[in-house]
C-alpha cells in the first residue's frame, strides 16, 4: 500500500515537472514558430506570383484576404464571406452572407484589424458574433486576391484534397480568367520515391499555364514525358523555349508519375475541383458585391 502511494506521488510529480518544462519551452518558441510559418507562407505566395528568391516586389502589389465561412442552422445553410473594406488600412471588414442561390441575406460590418484577422480564434469569434445566435459559422477556406494598382491580377487559393494516403494540401495561383499560374504542394504524406514526386518540378510545372477550358476536362495519361518537354519542365531550357513548350502542351493532359497514377490523378482532379468551385464562388461573390455596391478593397 505504501509502495503504491509513493509510486503514484512520484509519477505525478515527474509528470508535472515534465509538463512544466514542455510548457515553458512552448511559450518561448510558439511566437517564433508562428512567425516562421507566416514567412514561409508569404514566400510560397510570392513565388507562385513569379517573384522568386527575394526578387523585388513592387509596392503597387497588394494582397487582400477573403475568408469563407459555411453558416448553418437547423433548417438552412448559407455562405458567409469576410471581405476587407475599401478605404484605408484599419477600415475593418464586411461580412457578406449569401444564400445558396446567390442572393444576399445580410451584410454587416465587422471590426477587426489586419493583425487580428490573422488570429484564427479572434476571427472565428467575430464572425460568430456577426451571424448571431442560432447559427454556427464554420471556417471553410481562405482566398487571396492579388491586385496591382487596384487591378486584379491573380487569385491565390488554398485547398485540400484526398491523395493516395492522406490529404494533400496545396496552394494554387490562378489569373482573372482562371487559368493556372502555378501550383505549390504545401503538405502531403505520399510515398517517398513514388507519390512524393508530386512536389517535383517535372510534375507540378505541368499544371502551369493550363487554361480554364482545359482544366475543366483535365485528366492524366500513362505515358513517359517526352524528353524535350521534361527539359522545359525542369527549367533546363531558356525562358522563351519554356514558354513555347507551355503553349504547345497547354491543352494536353497531365503525364502521370511512374508508379503513382493514383496520386497523379488525385492531384489533377483536386486541382480541377478547387479551380472550378472557386470560379463559381468568386462570380457569385462579385455579383453580390456589384449589386449591393459594397466598397471592398479589391
Amino acid at each position: 500500500m505504501k509502495d503504491m502511494l509513493t509510486i503514484v506521488v512520484r509519477l505525478t510529480i515527474s509528470c508535472l515537472l515534465a509538463a512544466s518544462v514542455m510548457g515553458v519551452c512552448f511559450i518561448f518558441t510558439s511566437n517564433a514558430k508562428k512567425h516562421n510559418e507566416h514567412v514561409k507562407e508569404q514566400q510560397v505566395m510570392y513565388e507562385l506570383l513569379g517573384y522568386k528568391n527575394g526578387a523585388k516586389i513592387p509596392e503597387s502589389l497588394a494582397l487582400h484576404e477573403v475568408y469563407r465561412y459555411v453558416i448553418s442552422s437547423s433548417e438552412k445553410q448559407s455562405i458567409g464571406y469576410l471581405v476587407p473594406k475599401a478605404s484605408g488600412k484599419e477600415a475593418g471588414y464586411d461580412f457578406v452572407n449569401i444564400d445558396l442561390n446567390g442572393a444576399l441575406l445580410e451584410n454587416k460590418a465587422v471590426a477587426l484589424s489586419e493583425t487580428e484577422v490573422l488570429e484564427t480564434e479572434t476571427r472565428n469569434k467575430a464572425v460568430q458574433q456577426a451571424v448571431g445566435a442560432g447559427y454556427t459559422a464554420n471556417f471553410a477556406d481562405r482566398i487571396i486576391i492579388v491586385t496591382d494598382n487596384g487591378k486584379r491580377i491573380a487569385y491565390l487559393i488554398g485547398g485540400k484534397f484526398q491523395g493516395f494516403k492522406t490529404f494533400v494540401n496545396v496552394m494554387l495561383a490562378v489569373d482573372p480568367n482562371f487559368s493556372l499560374l502555378g501550383m505549390e504542394i504545401l503538405e502531403h504524406e505520399e510515398d517517398p520515391g513514388l507519390g512524393a514526386e508530386i512536389e517535383q518540378d517535372y510534375f507540378k510545372n505541368q499544371f502551369k499555364g493550363k487554361p480554364f477550358e482545359a482544366l475543366k476536362t483535365i485528366n492524366v495519361v500513362k505515358a513517359p514525358i517526352p524528353d524535350d518537354y521534361l527539359k522545359a519542365l525542369t527549367g533546363k531550357l531558356s525562358e522563351a523555349d519554356i514558354l513555347k513548350f507551355r503553349e504547345q502542351y497547354k491543352d494536353k493532359d497531365i503525364y502521370a508519375l511512374t508508379g503513382a497514377t493514383i496520386s497523379s490523378k488525385a492531384v489533377s482532379n483536386g486541382v480541377k475541383g478547387i479551380v472550378l468551385k472557386f470560379a463559381y464562388r468568386i462570380n457569385v461573390l462579385d455579383k453580390v458585391l456589384r449589386e449591393q455596391q459594397l466598397a471592398v478593397s479589391f
Binding site: C25, T29, G193
Partner: protein
Amino acid sequence: MANDKSSMQLISRGILSENPIFKLALSMCPAVGISTTVMNGLLLGIAVLFVQVFSSVTISIFKNLIHPRIRIPTYTLTIATWVTVIDLVLAAYLPEAYAKMGIFVKLIVAFAIITMRLEMFASKESVNDSFWDGLGMGLGFMVGMMTIGFVRELLGSGAIFGYDVLGFKPLLFFILPSAGFFVVGLMMAFFNWIEIFYKRSKGLKR
C-alpha cells in the same frame, strides 16, 4: 558498480568499442530509414546527441528519487520531454532543417539506444560520468549515421553533402531502404574485422 573509466575513455567507448549502430546494433530503424544522405545522418545525429545527453544527465540527477518499479515510465517521460523541447526549438529557430527532419525528430522518443543507456549507465553512475557517456553514445550514433549516409549518398546519388562529386549515379538501389541493411551489415563486418586485426596485432606485441 562504480565507473572506473575517464571521460575520454567513455567517449571513445561510445564511438568505437560500443558504437550504438555497429556494435550494439540498437536503433537500426533510423540507421536504415533516414541515412540516405550524409546531411540527414548529421542532423538526426545532432538531435539524438542532445536528447541523449540531456536525458542521461536528468536521470542521473534524479536517480535516487526514481522508484525502481516505475523506472521505465520515468525514462520514457524524460526522453519524451527532451524530444518535445528539441522539436519545438528546431521548429522555431531552424525552420530549414526542421522541414527536412521534423518527422524523424519525433521518432527519437522510441530510440532503443537512449533508453538502454539510461537503464545501463545513467541510473547508476554519477552526473559527470553520465554526461560523458551520453556524449560518447550520441557522438557514436552520429558518426555511425554519417558513415552509412556517406556510403549510401555516394553510391546512390553520386554526391556528398548534396554536391555532385561523381557526376553519375552508380547504383540507385542504395537510396532505397532495403539497401540500408546491406550497408549496415557490411559496415559491421568491416568494424569487427578492424577490431580483430587490432587485437591480434596487440597480442603479438605482448
